[in-house]
């Protein structure tokens, strides 16, 4: 019988639709490819990197860009390219951990606060205003200075500065979806409040959250590099883009330009890529763009 035919046809049609919409935004798609490449390089760093990133070579100190060392070497003769590849592990994982934690806390509390409304909502939003009124970077500096700058604390500091943004975002979305008819429907069938909030309503708030989180990945990475640059982030022996930029910056006057240029470029390209992907996702998930094929 031919009854099953439509079912088998819908899948390829759906996939090609997604593909067409991705192709409408080649810049974001390119950025996504860049991020995937960076992540792969970080995961397979021991295979990809040509040298041991921490192995000093006194004979090869301050070597400029060459075939042997495509990004030159530092004052100890360590290969810059290998260090940049290994540094991606730290940078990406800290940025990811910080963002994930901030998203989780922001989404859970934002959802509860937004659904509850009333004075709870008021108090929470004034707290958020207070935190947001404080410069985020200064706050992150203060937290790492107070807690000590271990990798965990850096992630924690960055995530704390980001929580208010997610909280406000999800709270706003919750105010919208809690008035939807499916919220009423969930109430009329006897769901307890926590099920209504987390199972029925929160999934409907996710698209803007995904966009915000992607954009914030870039910002988290930048904050972390900046903290490391001023010595309040990751500590020097560890290969990290901010640390390397700081070390390289000290050599500008003596002409070793490759030492700060390449880590700086790594930061810039990665942050830019996350921002472009975030922008692309925003268009991709925008319901108003759904009809356009």
């Amino acid at each position: 019988m031919t009854i099953a035919a439509p079912a088998t046809q819908t899948k390829p049609a759906g996939r090609s639709l997604v593909w067409r919409r991705i192709r409408r935004n080649p810049l974001s798609f390119g950025a996504l490819c860049v991020i995937v490449l960076i992540i792969l390089a970080a995961i397979f760093a021991p295979i990809v990197a040509p040298y041991d990133p921490d192995m000093p070579d006194a004979m090869a100190a301050f070597e400029s860009v060459s075939w042997k060392h495509p990004m030159g070497t530092d004052m100890y003769g360590r290969d810059q390219l290998s260090r940049i590849i290994f540094a991606a592990r730290v940078d990406l994982s800290v940025a990811f951990a910080a963002t994930a934690l901030a998203v989780a806390i922001g989404a859970i509390f934002g959802a509860m606060v937004g659904y509850a409304g009333g004075w709870i909502d008021n108090v929470a939003m004034r707290l958020v205003d207070a935190v947001m009124a404080f410069p985020a970077f200064v706050l992150a500096m203060g937290i790492t200075a107070a807690l000590g700058n271990s990798t965990t604390n850096v992630a924690l500091a960055i995530s704390i500065t980001q929580v208010p943004a997610y909280l406000r975002l999800i709270r706003g979305e919750m105010l919208r979806v809690r008035e939807m008819e499916y919220a009423d429907a969930a109430r009329t069938v006897g769901n307890p409040p926590w099920r209504i909030v987390f199972i029925h309503l929160l999934p409907n708030c996710l698209p803007p959250l995904i966009v915000q989180a992607t954009l914030a990945m870039g910002f988290a990475l930048l904050t972390m590099a900046a903290l490391s640059f001023i010595g309040l982030g990751i500590k020097p022996p560890q290969a990290e883009w901010g640390v390397m930029t700081a070390e390289g910056a000290a050599q500008i006057v003596t002409g070793e330009w490759w030492l700060f240029l390449f880590p700086g470029l790594a930061i810039m390209i990665t942050v830019l890529a996350f921002n472009l992907v975030g922008d692309g996702l925003r268009d991709f998930l925008d319901p108003r763009m759904r009809g356009i094929r």
């Binding site: 008819e181 009423d184 429907a185 009329t188 069938v189 006897g190 769901n191 029925h200 999934p203 409907n204």
Partner: protein, 328 residues
């Protein structure tokens, strides 16, 4: 045997900056077991508010001011929120007027039904899924297995309403509140949905409270009709009496405003609109639209009184007596 539902003296107010809006004002009506009752009235007559009040789901600024709702002999106002949750969905289910928006857009429709079994009957995922497929079969959704995995936006309006009915009947409720279940559906689909409701109601023994402004729908499936106007019950009677011997001027006007193709009678619209419910005057709320209004109507609200077998009317003017009786 007691009635399934007794609404007594129920009053719901909505607080606004200008004062209290009396959306539902001291209403009384009952629903017997297995009965199909139509709750009829224009927009703004308090029909939907009544249904939410029964489920105790009136949210601020709304508030139940007085009255009681007895369901199966139990006063719902005395139950804890936890006990009330076990009534909602399990004993009293509701079908909303816009099926597509009442279904959660990000959860497959089948899952929305099977979750009810898990929530109210504690069934395992596998058994719940089987019961869900049975329900989809019952509401005659073709190819249930495929449809169950789809989302609301992939289904037609009629299909969504069938899903809603499946959801509502899933846990065999004793009372099904259907809030304008056929608005937004085209006529042929609407008729089929009504047939399905009536049939499944009879099969499961559930009483149906059908909220509608469409007397055609009422004539089709109801046993009894409760007519509401401006937050008050003005008449309650078996469906035959409503059409053949309407006693309240508003009911007469409603019946007279049905377009007829079988008779050469002009359809008469009801003059005016539902009066403002913000600090309404003390008398009958239909007074400004009524041909028979007297001074008495302006001063005191007519009580809901029996006019014969199972027929209650809230009006001082007795149409039956004035016109020498209309054959029932």
């Amino acid at each position: 045997m007691t009635n399934l539902l007794d609404v007594a003296d129920l009053t719901v107010h909505f607080q606004s900056d200008a004062g209290a809006i009396e959306a539902v004002d001291h209403i009384n009506f009952s629903i017997r077991r297995g009965e199909v009752v139509g709750l009829v009235g224009e927009s703004g007559s308090g029909k939907s508010v009544t249904s939410f009040a029964i489920l105790r789901l009136i949210r601020r600024p709304g508030e139940i001011k007085s009255g009681s709702v007895r369901f199966d002999g139990v006063d719902l106002a005395t139950l804890s929120e936890e006990q009330m949750r076990r009534i909602r969905g399990a004993k009293i289910a509701m079908i909303s007027q816009s099926p597509r928006t009442a279904l959660n857009p990000v959860i497959p429709v089948g899952k929305q039904i099977s979750r009810l079994f898990r929530l109210h009957e504690g069934l395992s995922a596998r058994v719940a899924e089987k019961r869900m497929l049975d329900m989809l079969d019952l509401v005659r959704i073709p190819d249930p297995r495929r449809r169950a995995g789809q989302y609301a936006h992939q289904l037609s309006g009629g299909m969504c309403q069938r899903i809603m009915i499946a959801m509502a009947l899933a846990t065999s409720p004793r009372l099904l509140i259907a809030d304008e279940p056929t608005t937004g559906l085209d006529v042929s689909i609407a008729a089929r949905i009504l047939d399905l409701l009536r049939e499944l109601g009879a099969k499961t023994g559930a009483a149906i409270m059908l909220i509608t402004h469409d007397l055609g729908v009422v004539a089709e499936i109801c046993d009894r009709v409760v007519v509401m106007h401006a937050g008050q019950v003005v008449e309650a009677a078996p469906v035959r009496s409503i059409f053949h011997a309407p006693a309240h001027p508003y009911t007469r006007a409603l019946v007279g405003s049905i377009p007829r193709v079988d008779r050469d009678v002009a359809m008469t619209p009801i003059p005016g609109s539902v009066p403002s419910l913000l600090n309404p005057p003390p008398g009958c709320r239909y007074v400004s639209r009524c041909d028979h209004a007297t001074d008495q109507c302006r001063v005191a609200r007519p009580p809901l009184e029996s006019r014969g077998q199972d027929h209650d009317v809230a009006c001082y003017y007795d149409i039956g007596r004035q016109t020498g009786g209309v054959a029932a």
